[in-house]
Amino acid sequence: MTPTVSASGLSLRYGGTRALDDVSLRLTRGVTGLLGPNGAGKTTLLRVLATAVPPDRGAFTVLGHDPATSRGRQDVRRSLGYLPQTPGFHPDFTAFEFVDYVAILKELTDRGARHREVRRVLEEVDLGDVRGRRIKRLSGGMRQRVALAAALVGDPGFLVLDEPTVGLDPEQRMRFRELIAQAGEGRTVLLSTHQTEDVAMLCNRVVVLAGGQVRFDGTPAELTARAAGQVWSSTERDPGALAGWRTGTGSFRNLGDPPTGADLLEPTLEDGYLLTLDGAGAEVAAA
């Protein structure tokens, strides 16, 4: 049995900035969440795995194909569905035409089969009824679903989603989570997000990236467990805490090494994530 994605020692610099630093990963079927603060290297890692940019060092394979070669890169792309962070659209195209266009670029050449596939993915993202509507007349949530349909067309084995729920209202976000969960059945999904709720609800695995390095790789429960005994409540902000904030009840929720006798709280995934960022990130994230 082969992992869908196997990466080892991926490094990439942008000028003087080390965007990726010796990242190794193995991704398998299911939804893997990629968490990290801004500038952590999430989008860079996704773009490397999507073959948009080659790494300076290291290597990876997708479904056994090595993108270091031209042929291998094409084979990877045939197995890839990619939803970029800010997907562009051709507003004068209908939803059907846009996904059909992407399907052609994925080299689905049989017209009848391609059109069936386009209809299928549009049904899958619940846009079957508006497939003839121009994209400029669709809501933001619908457009995001068009982008997901474009990523799904051709039934790719590896789906890369870069912060797909950004900008969506809670209802749209919930709908989108359903779609991602559905998409994760039978394929490998790498989901980059700022939202720990996304990870908690969707992912069977989570990778935390900071400073271009993998800080954590495990299940969401394991990330949550990292905060066990490191979250406590107080009436005032505890100066010894790595991070702390006033909650809706008026008490403070603190993270770090609790003082003796502290009122310990049940940790959440976000607590585990913030503590994984070694305080500095936690400060940022908590702010």
């Binding site: 084979d75 045939r78 562009g88 992407v102 670029l105 993998v214 954590f216 790789d217």
Partner: protein, 510 residues
């Protein structure tokens, strides 16, 4: 921190072979359909096809019924001008769509490489070039099927319209790849127009610079035999093919397709373009010049003669089928004459001045041999009464040279003979006069030197043409000798024929 997750999943294997070119063609079809949504393209298409249909289907008097196919082929080249410009701008816009809409980042990780997308954009113009070719072919076939059609068309000349459309599309894609802004294409159009004006002025419209333009028109309205035209149409078509391929391959190169195939394609296209450009600017060969001079000076050596009735008609090979039509006019004119003129054995000879090819219109000298009449290469419309006037002047004056010098009452007889048997004599009189007038003095056009009518001759002729034909015919035949006597005055002619003679009718004022 490096981590390894050991869970496994079955690989998804895409076993079907890649068909990248099938995808390129699918994309080209998509883009071609999309181009139809651009208003300029749609409008240009409607205008182009509408203009051609209007030209073909509208019933007009004139030379439309007697096309010369060696002119018709060239006439198909300028109509797609607007379509080409529209395609240049809109294909450019389509090729920049991904960049404008921010989908490049996404599409660049899809299977089809950006350079293949460039190829697809170029290919998206092909349906429009094919449509243009079909319109051109339809237009040419329509003309060729007319019973009065003569001559031969050139495939190379017919190819210019579609190649021009293709070139515009390829230039649009090229500019999208070189200057990725939608403002570049309109500026390119303006720039090319300005450049062509400056090059034309700077080189005094020299042969080599004239042929750099995709569509090369001619100043002359003369029709020459196909083999004397001397336009380097085939080389020009090769030049255009080279330009299309050059624009396309450089666009692909700029689009990232830096394979040796593409580089070789650029080199090949450049070679084709240069070959065509050099070969087309060679000017007229000495052999062609000699052939033109022969046809101009001694047409009888190149012609076939056919007898219709009493007269003989000598025509260049492409026009022999038209001699019967000429004979119809001669018979009509002679039917109104009397005496020996009614049975005169005329020699109608086709003549033209091909010395300068199609670069200018020249007048040919009148024949001095008796009973010989010149007929030109164009027919229909005004050319018919012009020929009839020439025939009538020879019947009355004896030869063409003397006919051009007529300055007495015989001019009335000439014009009666020329127009009296026509379906619309007054209309023909108006048309055959240079200023389209029905009063006053005027020049009367003829295949060689023009005739001239004084104001008095005009008024008498108009009066005769308005009277019942049989009545005037009988009078003319009865007084034929008097009416055709040298020096007869217009007043005498009017009196004999029962028309009012205006004062000063004998003055040749024109």
């Amino acid at each position: 921190m490096n981590t390894v997750m050991e869970a496994t999943a079955p690989p998804v294997v895409h076993s079907e072979p890649r068909r990248p070119w099938a995808a390129v063609f699918a994309l080209a079809r998509f883009e071609a359909r999309d181009l139809l949504r651009y208003i300029p393209v749609l409008v240009a298409l409607v205008v182009y096809i509408g203009y051609i249909l209007w030209g073909l289907l509208s019933e007009r008097e004139g030379m439309d019924a007697f096309p010369a196919l060696q002119d018709v082929d060239r006439g198909t080249q300028s109509a797609p001008f607007l379509l080409g410009i529209a395609l240049l701008v809109c294909v450019n816009r389509a090729a920049l769509r991904s960049r404008r809409r921010g989908t490049d980042r996404h599409f660049d990780v899809l299977v089809m490489e950006p350079w293949r997308r460039t190829v697809a954009h170029v290919l998206s113009v092909v349906p429009f070039a094919v449509l243009t070719a079909l319109v051109v072919l339809g237009e040419f076939t329509w003309e060729a099927l007319k019973p009065g059609a003569v001559g031969h068309g050139s495939v190379a000349e017919l190819a210019v319209g579609p190649l021009y459309v293709m070139l515009c599309g390829a230039l649009g894609v090229l500019f999208a790849r070189l200057v990725p802004t939608v403002f570049a294409a309109p500026l390119l159009v303006l720039g090319l127009f300005t450049l062509s004006v400056f090059v034309s002025a700077g080189t005094s419209d020299a042969e080599w610079s004239r042929w750099l333009s995709p569509v090369v028109g001619e100043n002359s309205t003369e029709t020459l035999p196909s083999d004397l035209i001397g336009r380097p149409a085939a080389w020009h078509a090769l030049y255009l093919v080279g330009l299309v391929l050059l624009a396309a391959t450089v666009a692909v190169l700029a689009g990232g397709g830096r394979t040796w195939h593409v580089k070789a394609g650029v080199a090949g296209a450049l070679a084709l373009t240069l070959t065509g450009a050099v070969a087309q600017s060679g000017g007229v060969s000495p052999e062609l010049t000699a052939a033109r001079e022969r046809a101009t000076a001694t047409p009888e050596k190149e012609q076939s003669c056919i007898r219709h009735g009493a007269s003989t008609y000598c025509a260049f090979p492409e026009w022999t089928g038209r001699t019967g039509t000429w004979a119809g006019v001669v018979d009509r004119v002679q039917a109104l004459a009397a005496g020996s003129a009614a049975k005169e054995q005329l020699l109608v000879r086709q003549r033209f001045d091909a010395t300068y090819g199609l670069t200018g219109d020249t007048t040919i000298a009148p024949l001095t041999a008796p009973h010989q009449v010149t007929v030109g290469t164009r027919w229909g419309g005004n050319r018919v009464p012009e020929f009839a006037a020439a025939v009538a002047s020879v019947l009355v004056a004896g030869d063409e040279a003397k006919g051009g010098e007529l300055c007495d009452g015989r001019m009335v007889t000439v014009m009666w003979l020329a127009l009296g048997g026509a379906a619309d004599p007054i209309g023909d009189l108006k048309n055959v006069r240079l200023d389209d007038s029905l009063s006053g003095s005027a020049i009367v056009l003829a295949p060689t030197n023009p005739l001239s009518m004084s104001a008095g001759q005009t008024s008498v002729t108009v009066e005769l043409l308005k009277r019942p034909r049989a009545e005037v015919t009988a009078a003319v035949k009865e007084h034929w000798g008097e009416l055709t006597a040298p020096g007869v005055s217009t007043a005498q002619v009017a009196r004999v024929l029962g028309a009012e003679a205006p004062k000063g009718a004998d003055e040749c004022e024109a």
